[in-house]
């Protein structure tokens, strides 16, 4: 709880640091704040407490996810040190907005009341709408921001409507009470409750970009500044899944048959649509956006398996996915700079020739995303499949495996570009801090795979 309060206030402090007109102190202060938050979070481990009339429930699950998001945000801020060097104004706002978004994310991992979930989603989203439009002079960035805002508010409306309907039926916002209320119907839910639940699920699905509510994500990923894209692909996704899991885990499981079928269809669609679209992408950011949709499908598979260990599998999956994604964005931004702003896959050409070690780490990262051993991405997928098959979902697991094979194609397509010589080589410059980040993440990706752990949450 102290972590939540601290980070909310800390965001404002960072915002006012902007008046100091000293860009150099921003990142260290912000990272310091994140580390303090992390310490405050870990302090509560194993305690388990409730606040605000039980509207917030801080348990090991939420702490584990919070710490995971804090680590990832720290990496992104380290990336920001170099990324924001060229930016003259409003750098403090960028950091502050991300910290605000993180505050929302904290609410999303620890709510036990639908109103809190709504607040969390909004606190997370509104900074993102601004961040996506971070490049004010860029047409693409403005489009991304506007599109995200429009579709985001649309889905929020759905979500709110759903909450209202559920409240109308059950006269409560508390998830455990809703759960008991649903249980009394033995699966034959009244229409109002059913529609309400469906709308709530749609609202959450939009946030984590599950097909068919994914249309915003490629455009927003492409248009937003790369660092913000990295933030959205990792932290926002983690928060969204934590919220989703909590919604199902303490509220809605076992799902009514109709809703469960809907979610299974959405899982299948995410895997299929994401993959088929990714095959045709020539823009790296769009490719990663579609690949993120596919990963969403895998995570849904774990979540829908309805097993106690699904939470820790999700945690592991989101964490290693984020660890592999961030350095890829770092590599991408340097290749983009070297290629004078192009974002096509061909910009990776000549990477192996000029910076062989970066190409090696890129191999590891892409292997992890593709799910090849011995990287942690493989371990994550292995756990997901084990979970799904142990619960008897064999057919969809085989379908997911086929989708994973398609995934290998486009990841290795990118990799192949990196190992192809370039026709007109431009010098690739990678500053020390970013190089260190790439190496650290790459090594972590392998080590987490070799020494897989499960945190009991």
């Amino acid at each position: 709880m102290s972590a939540l309060i601290f980070i909310a206030i800390f965001g404002i402090i960072v915002l006012y640091l902007g008046f100091a007109n000293n860009k150099a102190i921003l990142a260290p202060v912000a990272i310091g704040g994140l580390l303090i938050t992390m310490a405050l979070s870990i302090k509560d481990w194993g305690v388990g407490s409730k606040y605000f009339h039980d509207m917030i429930m801080v348990d090991n699950f939420s702490i584990a996810f919070n710490v995971s998001m804090l680590i990832i945000t720290t990496l992104i801020f380290l990336f920001g040190v170099n990324y924001y060097k060229r930016m003259e104004h409003h750098v403090a706002e960028q950091y502050a907005l991300m910290i605000f978004a993180l505050t929302g994310a904290f609410l999303m991992t620890s709510y036990s009341n639908l109103i809190m979930l709504f607040l969390g989603i909004e606190i997370l989203s509104i900074p993102l709408y601004i961040l996506a439009g971070g490049k004010k002079s860029s047409y693409r960035s403005n489009e991304a921001s506007f599109k995200y805002f429009l579709l985001g508010s649309f889905s929020t409306a759905f979500f709110l409507f759903g909450i209202a309907l559920v409240y109308g039926a059950s006269s409560t916002f508390y998830l455990p009470e809703i759960s008991t209320y649903i249980a009394q119907f033995n699966g034959h839910l009244p229409p109002m409750l059913m529609v309400g639940l469906l709308f709530i699920l749609i609202g959450v699905s939009f946030k984590v970009a599950v097909a068919p509510f994914h249309f915003w994500s490629p455009d927003v990923y492409e248009g937003a500044p790369t660092l913000v894209t990295a933030f959205m692909a990792t932290v926002v996704k983690t928060a969204g899944f934590a919220a989703f899991y909590r919604l199902l885990g303490i509220g809605l499981l076992p799902l009514p048959a109709a809703l469960e079928k809907t979610l299974w269809v959405m899982t299948g669609l995410s895997l299929l649509v994401g993959n088929l679209a990714a095959l045709k992408q020539s823009n790296f950011k769009r490719l990663l956006a579609y690949s993120a949709i596919v990963h969403t499908g895998f995570m849904l598979l774990a979540m829908l398996s309805q097993h106690d260990s699904a939470g820790s599998v999700l945690l592991y999956y989101t964490f290693v996915y984020s660890l592999a994604t961030i350095p890829l964005f770092i590599i991408f931004i340097h290749m983009k700079r070297s290629a004078k702003g192009l974002e096509d896959l061909v910009i990776f050409r000549g990477l192996y020739k000029q910076k062989p070690w970066v190409a090696v780490f890129m191999t590891i990262l892409l292997m992890s995303l593709a799910g090849l051993p011995p990287t942690s991405g493989f371990m994550a997928k292995y756990q997901v499949f084990t979970l799904a098959i142990s619960q008897g979902y064999l057919a969809i697991s085989i379908f997911a495996i086929i989708m994973a094979i398609i995934g290998v194609y486009y990841y290795f397509y990118v990799l192949r570009e990196a190992f192809t010589d370039s026709d007109e080589p431009n010098p690739i410059l990678i500053p020390f801090l970013n190089a260190a980040l790439i190496i650290a993440c790459g090594i972590a990706v392998v080590l987490l795979g070799l020494f897989t752990f499960t945190i009991p949450i």
Binding site: P373, I389, Y413
Partner: protein
């Protein structure tokens, strides 16, 4: 402990090599490492069979780092470690880019292959199985010939697709284990899976091995990949990696889904025999020497696959014998292909001819290898294929007849190719061609010597194989035993 050393030695040397600058030193270090590994393998063969290694790994589902071996894995290990010195040697004195990286990748492949053959649990097996793909992918991509980018990706996706089905199969099997789930082969072999499940599970497991071998119709990646690959790459692929498929089938299919094997046996046998005839006929029509040998290799592998699924004593013995000779022959043949290409600057058969005038010694050695390849009696190739065909004949005379076409058609296309390369008087374009140099003798003489000694005096290998064939026989009898009790 010795197992761990055998596994890690190539890996450690490989990593060390990356820091060496001089190409010559790199190759010598790599060669030394592989030779030491070969010696260690011989030591292992002499030691007690109880040598095994086991260590805790993760807290996840009791996955252990367990190494061990039985007759079949020992044979595969011997083959791997016997071939890799030659594979490294094949790169000596050649113009190659980034020699240290190349040798690192080759040694990494060796380590992964050894891991595959020594793993004692399915999870570890799968990790190494996939790990073999990564270095070979880069060997093919970066050192491959023209069109390597497209072909390599196809090869990679193709083989990986099979592997992922294998993963599903493994996870499914592990879920069936009682109590705390285990991935140990010894536990998985004890599972009594219902027949209906075995029937579909067979395919989930089998596809990975069928693609790796490759069996018709899963072979379409193979000819292009072989043609495009560098000499060393194709030696690894054809010499050792094809045997992974056979080994995997022995490790998984027979002990775990015996009824599935029996159910599909005839269909798979037909697929294998179609592969034999199809590959032989296509090989005959090839004008590119490397493609021709690729198809010839597929024909031989298909015959071996047929022997695998016929499962009687002769076929098993022949199969295991043939695993060794085929590996050696393929390496020797592809080295010859490389030499021919060096000397004639082409691989197209119609453009060749009369090379024997310029390189008479090479002509003799090539003839010897070709004779081994067409299974002439008194060569190593004969023993294996002969035993396999006896095994096929025990089942049905028709199968023996179709299986025998490898020998007949093989003789036709190999000798025809030999004629087009070496004979004739079209020697104008090769005026400056030199004959073999000392390095080539170092490479070829030992290989040919082993192949001929095995042909004249096969007993040492047959003794070694005896154990393996018996192990296999036991697996199979117990499988049939289960089936007969089920049917009563």
């Amino acid at each position: 402990m010795i197992l761990l050393i055998i596994l890690l030695l190539p890996l450690v040397t490989g990593l060390g090599i990356l820091f060496l600058r001089n190409a010559c030193t790199v190759r010598i270090v790599a060669l030394t490492s592989t030779i030491v590994n070969l010696v260690l393998t011989f030591v292992l063969m002499g030691s007690s069979p109880a040598a095994s290694f086991s260590a805790e790994w993760t807290n996840l589902m009791g996955i252990k780092l367990a190494l061990g071996f039985d007759g079949i894995s020992l044979l595969m290990l011997l083959l791997t470690n016997l071939l890799f010195p030659f594979i490294i040697l094949a790169g000596f004195k050649r113009e190659q880019k980034q020699v240290s990286v190349l040798n690192f990748l080759i040694l990494l492949t060796q380590a992964a292959l050894i891991g595959v053959f020594l793993s004692q649990n399915a999870f570890l097996f799968y990790i190494f199985w996939e790990l073999t793909l990564i270095p070979i992918y880069f060997i093919l991509l970066l050192w491959g010939g023209e069109n390597s980018r497209a072909v390599t990706l196809k090869f990679f996706i193709y083989t990986l697709a099979g592997s992922l089905f294998l993963l599903i199969g493994i996870i499914y099997l592990v879920q069936l284990t009682p109590g705390i789930h285990s991935t140990d082969f010894s536990v998985l072999n004890q599972l009594h899976i219902p027949a209906a499940t075995q029937i579909w599970l067979f395919w989930v497991l089998f596809i990975a091995f069928a693609i790796k071998m490759p069996i018709f119709p899963f072979h379409t990646w193979q000819p292009n990949t072989y043609t495009m690959a560098s000499t060393q790459g194709v030696m690894i692929l054809g010499g050792v990696m094809t045997k992974m498929g056979i080994y995997g089938a022995l490790r998984f299919l027979f002990p775990m889904v015996p009824q599935g094997v029996l159910y599909w046996q005839n269909i798979v046998l037909v697929m294998c025999l179609i592969g034999v005839v199809y590959a032989s006929v296509i090989a005959f029509r090839q004008t590119n020497l490397k493609r021709l040998i690729a198809f010839s290799s597929m024909a031989h592998i298909s015959l071996m696959a047929a022997a695998l699924f016929i499962y009687n004593y002769y076929a098993a013995q022949g199969l295991l014998f043939q695993v060794v000779t085929h590996g050696l022959t393929v390496v020797a043949l592809f080295y010859m292909v490389q030499l021919i290409q060096d000397k004639t600057n082409t691989l197209e058969l119609p453009q060749m001819g009369g090379l024997k005038h310029a390189a008479p010694k090479m002509a003799i050695l090539l003839l010897m290898i070709v004779l081994v390849s067409v299974a002439l009696p008194l060569t190593g190739g004969f023993i294996g294929e002969f035993l396999i065909i006896i095994g096929l004949a025990k089942q049905s005379i028709w199968m023996a007849l179709f299986g025998g076409t490898t020998m007949i058609l093989g003789a036709i296309y190999m000798l025809y190719a030999y004629q087009r390369i070496m004979l004739g008087d079209k020697n104008i374009s090769f005026k400056n061609t030199t004959d073999l140099v000392r390095l080539d003798y170092w490479m070829l003489i030992p290989l040919i010597a082993i192949l001929f000694i095995l042909g004249i005096y096969p007993q040492p290998i047959l003794n070694l194989v005896e154990v393996s064939a018996n192990t296999m026989q036991n697996l199979l009898t117990s499988a049939t035993g289960i089936v007969t009790t089920m049917s009563h």
